[in-house]
Each structure stands twice: as structure tokens, then as C-alpha cells.
């Protein structure tokens, strides 16, 4: 996680295993929940078979509904190795994983 931008190191991280049935409203709920613990910055990691940046279509309304938080969105390829690497890197960082 050395590659994170400085402000992302203070962020709450949300990992999303992207799928057709993923409810992105849950991510907003999680952000509101984390903000009650003092978080104002969020990094959303999307693990998706859909290539970058096309996967952002599903996150558009989440981005549009936000005016309060700093949000960073990162794309990761859909592979077991990539997922392991990401979750390993987030071990000591506050985060939540959404699988579906």
C-alpha cells in the first residue's frame, strides 16, 4: 500500500467485488457509518472484470450523490492474486469488504 496517495493513507477503504448484483447503495451506507467514527476520506477499490474506466458507470450515482467526502476510486483486475495482494495491503488499515 506504499503506492497510495498521502491522503488515502488516512482514508477508510472499501473493497468491492464488482458483480451485476452489487448494490452500490450499500457503499454509501457504509461511508455514512464510517463517517460517524470520524472518517471523511474514502478509497473505494473496485475489483472488476469490466475494464477501467467503464466500470465507473455503476459508481456514477454514488459519486453524484456525494458532496461531503473526499472519495478516491481505484480499479483492480479480477484475479485471485490481485485480491490477495490488495487485502494483504489493507491489513492494518481500516476497511470493509463487500462481496455482493
Amino acid at each position: 500500500m506504499n503506492t497510495l496517495l498521502s491522503f488515502e493513507k488516512k482514508a477508510y477503504h472499501i473493497v468491492v467485488m464488482d458483480s451485476e448484483s452489487m448494490d452500490y447503495g450499500k457503499i454509501m451506507d457504509e461511508m455514512v457509518n464510517a463517517s460517524s467514527k470520524g472518517f471523511r476520506k474514502f478509497t473505494i477499490h473496485v475489483i472488476s472484470k469490466t475494464k477501467s474506466p467503464l466500470y465507473l458507470e455503476k459508481l456514477r450515482s454514488l459519486i453524484q450523490n456525494n458532496i461531503a467526502y473526499t472519495i478516491t476510486i481505484r480499479h483492480h483486475n479480477y484475479s485471485e492474486e490481485e485480491v490477495k495482494k490488495l487485502l494483504n495491503g489493507l491489513k492494518n488499515i481500516p476497511h470493509k469488504v463487500f462481496e455482493k
Binding site: T3, L5, S6, F7, E8, R40, K41, T43, K51, S52, P53, L54, L56, E57, R60, S61, I63, Q64, N65, N66, I67, A68, Y69, T70, I71, T72, I73, R74, H75
Partner: protein, 493 residues
Amino acid sequence: MMSNHHGKEFLGFLATGPALNMPEELWLWLGAPKPKVDGEGKPIEAPYGMRKVEAKLLEAGFRVAIVDPDHLHKHLDSMRILMLGHHDYFAYGPPSSEWWMITGKEPINRVSFRKLMESPAVKKAKEKGVKIIAGGPGAWQWLWELEYWRKWGVDLVVEGEVERVIVDIVEKALNNEPLPDYIYVGPQDSPSIEEIPVIKGASVNGLVEIMRGCPRGCRFCPVTLRSLRFIPLEKIREEILVNLRAGIKGVLLHSEDVFLYYAEGVKPNPKAIMKLHKLARELVGEEGAIGWSHLTLSTVKYAEEKYGLVSKLMDEIILTDKQRFIGVQVGVETGSPRLAKLIMPGKAAPYPPEKWPEIVVDAFRIMHENNIIPAATIILGVPGEKPEDVVKTAELLDELKHYRSLIVPMFFVPMGAMKNLDWFRRNNVKAEHIEVMLKTLYHSTFWAEEIMSKYYLHGAKMAPLRIMLKLFIRYVKHRVNKLKPELEKLLRH
């Protein structure tokens, strides 16, 4: 597209429309002529937001330069990151989207941007591994153009104020570290006054920011989401001097409401405003022009009625033998107190929103009497708008017809706290909207000729531009008169 719009920034509105009844090159010359550049293609005047990013990166020790898009090819050998800034990349903002909707033609700002991204210089840069980072006020539009984003290989889109994050982003990009796809910089990461750098090169038409953010909280406006900060006089002085040294003859004071400089809440601080303008006049001299970007109509009324501030400023500082007027953008938005209360409850303050139409008329009168020429906007199709609200706007326009001004209707574009709501579309246009659009057209074309001849474009140097614009206005009038019977039929039904 980079331009100083002949030194008349309001001509920039033409660059948001498609070329109408004339070749694209001529339209661009009218609204956005090519900027003056040095041998390397660096413009003498550059957009202010880009100048801020440039200054931040220069202070951090990077080699950075603003280059006119036509000269990018000169820098292919040294370029590592191509940073894009745009107010309206894809013509989704107001009034581009409205031009597009009415004429059915792609606005020229969108056409020009696409040409740039598909130019050999940008393609070559991408092939060489140059990273592309897009930002600026129009950054949000990329979320609706994901195919172009992919096709052109944009690496990162950043939305919001970037002073606090840009150095970090550029370092990572130069180190070839993975960048996020999208960053929205929230209000808690807005830069402090100390973090906002002084520009190092001249800005378009001498624009200098005097404050950031706005306390009024209008729901359709993105600026109001930012925290309110006042730029100290010392920094303003430095930036005016940067512009004067580059040969710019005046200063354009930029704020969402110039009269709120160091205000307490929404009540103007006359001492601070006088001091700011005295400084500006002292620096630009009697020969130079002082300009304003925006004012709020309630502040105009309050400042004049409570302190006589508008006439004092105009008589004692702004008007000279050389400067005979000042232009400014203002927001009327609606003539309906009900709608005003709903979408912009703070815009009328310190008066109640119920008095909004009266405030607008009083402010227009005050401006007319003091040689202030407003370019005003009206928003049509705001979610929650009812036909009776639009009728009230039409009635207000009747009351404004005696006052020298330009009034432009704009269709609602979801931004600010309303950015999650739906766009106003062509099939939502009702007879009441057409009536308002026609009234604004008659109003603006009536006053435009006088404004151009006596104020805005007077003198021999401006004659070709004035003649072209007059011909264009006559063409628009002619077209509308031809369509009038059909429109009137539509209004009756």
C-alpha cells in the same frame, strides 16, 4: 481552446455554442481567438485555475508549463504528464447544453476538445507513455463520457480544489506508480489561504481571485459547497502585479459576489470593499480597467441602500475618463418567490426570499443608474418548478425591460447539491418556457446593440468585431421573426 476572448470575457459565451450560419473558424475568431504565445507556445495569458496548478507545482520544484493546445507538438520530447483543465469539456454545462438542445448541433467547445484529444500531438504523447490527468470545473463530465475516457487513455480525473493533493499526484505519476481513476476532493480537503499559491504567470484578462466559496448555499451551485475563504490584500496585490508585468492593462476581480469581500455573513463590509478597489485602481492606474466577475443582486441593493456603496465606488474609484462602465455576471434565476425559497433560500439574504422579485428590480435599477451592465442568467427547468413559477419569471422580465442588461435563459444542469437530480430535456420545454426564452431574446438583442456601440466594443479597433456581432444579432432577430407565427401559435395552445 485557450483565449482571452478579445479582452472581453463575456464574448466567451459564444464559444459555448455551435457555429451558427457562419464558418467554424469565423465563429471561433469572434468568441475565442487564438491566444498570443511565445516561441514555445506558452500563452502570455492563461486560464486562472491552470495558473494556480502551475504555481503549486513550480513551488514544489517541478518543471511545468502551460502550453497552448496548438503548440503541444513542440514539447513531445520532454512531456511526461499532460494535464488538462476545462470549464466544459463535453458541453454539458450551462449554456452549452442549452445551445446544443435548441440547435441540435454540437457546441464548438466540445468539437474543439475532441479535435485536441484526437490530434497527432496527443496521440503521439500517449504512445510515448505520457500520463493524462484531467481536472478543472468540468471534470465531472467525464463520468458521462467513459468511452472517450477509455479511447483517449485518460489516466486520472480529479474533481474539486486540487492545491492540497496535486503535488502528491504528480509525484506518483512521474514515478509510474498506479494512479486512482477518479478523485473527488471534498470540502475538508480544500486548501487553506496559506496553501493557495500566488500565480507566477499572467491570467486571462487579469483575473485575480479575491475569495473562494460562497455563504449563500444555493442548491444548484457547486461553488457553495466549498468553504469560504478571503484572499488577503497582499496576495491580491502580488497577483495584480504579475499581470501588469506581463502587459495586462487591468484587473478582473473574481468572486461569487465581489461585495462579500471580508463580509460578516451576507452583509457587505464597505471598508474592505473600498480598500480593495483603491488598491486595484492604484495598481492599474487611470488607464487600466477594473472588472468584476459576479455580484449578488441582494448585496447590490443592500450595499447601495444602507451605505450608498455602489454609487460611491463607481463615482470615486471605478469610473474614469477611460473606464465608462463595468460589466458583471449576476443570477436572477427565477421570478418566483416560491421557487427562490426552494432552491436558493439564501440568495435574497439579508432580505427574505419572498421579496426576491422586488430585490431583482431594485438591483437592476441601481446598476442601470451607475453604469454597471449585468449579464444575468435565468434557470429554466429546475426540479420542483411549476408553470406558475415560469409565468412569474416572465412577469419579472417585463419589469426589467427598461434596464440596460443582457439576460440569458439556461436550462437546469444538475450541479452542486442538486447534482443527483435529473437534467432538463428538450421534451420538457413548455409554452411558458418558450415565452421566457423569447422575452429574454428580445430584451438582450434590444440592449446588445447599444451596449456594443456605446460601451463594450466601442472604438475603431473593435469595429470589425462589432460589425460581425451586429450582423449576427440581426440574423438571429430575422430568424426569430420568421418563426414568430409558429411560436405564437404554440404559446396560445
